[in-house]
């Protein structure tokens, strides 16, 4: 698959985002909502830090034995009457899903929220196969109406304001009276609910993602607050679970540990409203539920990630706490990152999945403030992993030329202390004279990125080392 990414244009994307007043208004909701709610949920559970360790250990253990847990999981799904499909690539996955839809003659597919579906661009593939996908998560539904990508992995439309959503609903829901009042968010929700209810009942196939897969029982788990994921998998006659291979955990107990950190980290809830454990198709005497149950296990580069320093990234449970706490994400929003996964987790994952040549900006666009790592429920050292990408880029000469040459000059002097002392003393003396009157510079050559918007303090005069040795000698 040729991933559609605008990540190489990150800087231009960021520029547009910073100058988009509606986006900037909407992004304020990230900071005001998620951060405080996560903190109060964590504070309410004295065991939260210990649970983070536990969650990390469970994931590490599972990843180290992933081949065996996959086999165990597959056997259990099969025993429960389900089917497991292995998809090495995104194209394999979309082909498997499209084939199932074709075989059962599906016209419409109801979809629960799934980032894997975004990753493999499933909707485009389904449309090409003549099947109409319907996103049923409120946020994803709006995204689909707009022909956009989610800008956040938990809150897909965090980049929008209600008036924009109202405009979309008026554009699309043309059968409803144009004079209706949609000013309250409640009325937007009610309208979407009404529109989607019909789609649920009419859908031939339901597709959901999975937050976890349980090897012990062959169970897939989804967590939602709306209930759309449940309607998507309960009403249609076929349920397809789309999951990547690193979603596995060994047992129901392990899953419970993970669930204790997931919702608290994501939305600050004790637990999501609906946590659904699905195992196989409906049982012979059941009165509802799908007649067929399929799991599509996507690799798409993950099995190779297990080999190196990015294995830790496979612990990620997609809670979005990292982006919720990221100053860069707060500034530019998710779309600027240019691909499916934004924020710090995307800055590490995207280069692994679509190549560092495409996503090279992402691990660089971080101040390394470390707030992401400090809230990660599975303790992924995100800054360290971003730095590892920068090392790969440096090795491959992919770092931006001005940065490379600037650093090379700096490194040249810094590695020669005597030359450094001599040169810096002279340079700082001169700069200090130049900046003497104001004490700062409004513009500096080669530092436009800074001085376009900020002053730059002028040096006091001589260097510390020069003054220190002069003063100590004088004593």
């Amino acid at each position: 698959m040729n991933a559609h990414s605008t990540s190489p244009a990150f800087k231009e994307n960021a520029h547009r985002a910073l100058h988009d007043p509606a986006l900037q208004r909407a992004l304020g909701n990230v900071e005001t909502g998620f951060i405080g709610r996560r903190k109060s949920a964590a504070d309410k559970l004295p065991e939260f830090e210990a649970l983070r360790d536990s969650a990390r250990d469970i994931k590490n253990h599972t990843l180290a034995h992933l081949d065996l847990y996959l086999e165990a999981y597959e056997a259990k799904v099969t025993a429960a009457g389900g089917h497991v499909h292995f998809a090495p690539t995104a194209d394999d996955a979309t082909a498997i899903v499209a084939d199932i839809c074709r075989r059962v003659g599906a016209k419409t597919v109801a979809k629960g929220k799934s980032m894997i579906s975004e990753e493999i661009e499933l909707n485009a593939a389904l449309e090409a196969a003549g099947v109409q996908p319907v996103e049923t998560d409120l946020g994803e539904y709006i995204i689909q109406l707009r022909g956009e990508r989610p800008s956040h992995i938990v809150a897909p439309v965090i980049h929008l304001n209600r008036d924009q959503i109202e405009a979309d609903f008026r554009r699309v829901h043309t059968k409803l009276p144009p004079e209706r009042d949609l000013s309250a968010p409640e009325s937007l929700l009610a309208e979407a609910r009404g529109a989607l209810r019909e789609k649920f009942l009419a859908a031939d196939v339901g597709i959901t993602g999975a937050n976890f897969l349980v090897a012990e029982t062959g169970t897939s788990i989804i967590v939602t607050n709306e209930g759309n994921g449940d309607l998507s998998q309960t009403l249609p006659k076929v349920h397809i679970v789309l999951a990547s291979i690193e979603k596995l955990v060994p047992t129901l107990e392990d899953a419970s540990q993970m669930l204790r950190v997931l919702a608290r980290s994501a939305t600050g809830q004790e637990i999501t409203v609906y946590t659904t454990f699905s195992t196989g198709p409906r049982r012979p005497a059941d009165v509802d539920g799908p007649e067929e149950y399929h799991v599509v296990l996507l690799d798409n580069g993950r099995s190779a990630m297990l080999a190196g320093e990015f294995r830790e990234m496979l612990r990620c449970i997609r809670c979005a706490a990292c982006m919720n706490h990221c100053p860069v994400y707060h500034a530019v929003g998710g779309h600027a990152y240019g691909w499916v996964y934004p924020g710090p987790m995307g800055a590490v994952l995207s280069p692994s999945l679509i190549g560092v040549d495409k996503a090279g900006h992402l691990p660089n666009a971080s101040t390394f403030c470390g707030r992401c790592e400090s809230v990660c429920p599975v303790r992924i050292p995100l800054p360290k992993l971003m730095r590892h990408w920068r090392e790969r880029e440096f090795e491959r000469n992919l770092s931006p030329a001005p940065v490379r040459s600037g650093l090379a000059v700096w490194g040249f002097f810094a590695r020669r202390p005597r030359l450094y002392r001599f040169a810096t003393r002279a340079a700082m003396g001169a700069l200090s004279l130049l900046g003497r009157r104001k004490g700062r510079f409004g513009a500096l050559p080669l530092a436009g990125g800074w001085t376009d918007t900020r002053d730059f303090a002028a040096p006091e005069g001589s260097t510390f080392q020069a003054r220190w040795s002069a003063e100590r000698r004088a004593r």
């Binding site: 800087k11 470390g370 940065v403 490194g411 700062r440 918007t453 303090a457 080392q465 220190w468």
Partner: protein, 258 residues
Amino acid sequence: MSAQPGPRPRVGLFATCLVDLIRPSVGFAAAKLIEASGCDVVVPSQTCCGQPAFNSGDRRTAKALAWQAIEAFEGVDYVVAPSGSCAGQLKKHVPELFEDEPELSRPADAFAAKVFELVSFLVDVRGMKAVDARFDGAVTYHDSCAGLRELGIRAQPRALLESVEGLTLTEMKDSDVCCGFGGTFAVKYGEISDAIVAKKADNISAAETGTLLAGDLGCLMNMAGKLQRLGRPVKARHVAEVLAGMGDEPAIGEPQGR
């Protein structure tokens, strides 16, 4: 001030390149505080901790600079830097650089063990509870990221500031949120960096203090530069200057008095 019994420890002051080049007075303030805590101060020949190279993916240069520092600070009891970011590099990341080389990792680990950020050194290592300083006015304090999250520095500067006569500390909103500096990030992604520091400047202004303090010159230059460009009447200083009773010298980016 604490005067501990026994021989006075020898502290190698790692001034950091920004202090060395831009604001030597922070180095003198640091030296004064370290001496007041009962230590002797030496300033070995030094350049840069290697963090810009390390964070840009240039491990080779980072290692060379790290090794240079390890050798330069041989023979001191402590290495103290008036910067959470540079101290974090020397304490947390230098060992990472040498972890695969058994002969080098021992000295690297030993070096890292004796590295401290200035204020945490004074409080946590030297047991300093108060300083002999006066500063008239309200200040607000920004927690620089590396100091806060890599080294756990939060209470220490506040404890010492409380002992400064005439000083009141007013907390700003989100004092623990990044100022947008990020080293080379501030230049490479200047526009994003500016958006972040603009928010920070608003939070600083909203605290309605005349002075902004922090423990890292990089962050301070970024915040001072934004405040000055916006014409906000807040002066920025390194926390060491105020703790050392040197808070009456020209603030960061202000003309040298005469």
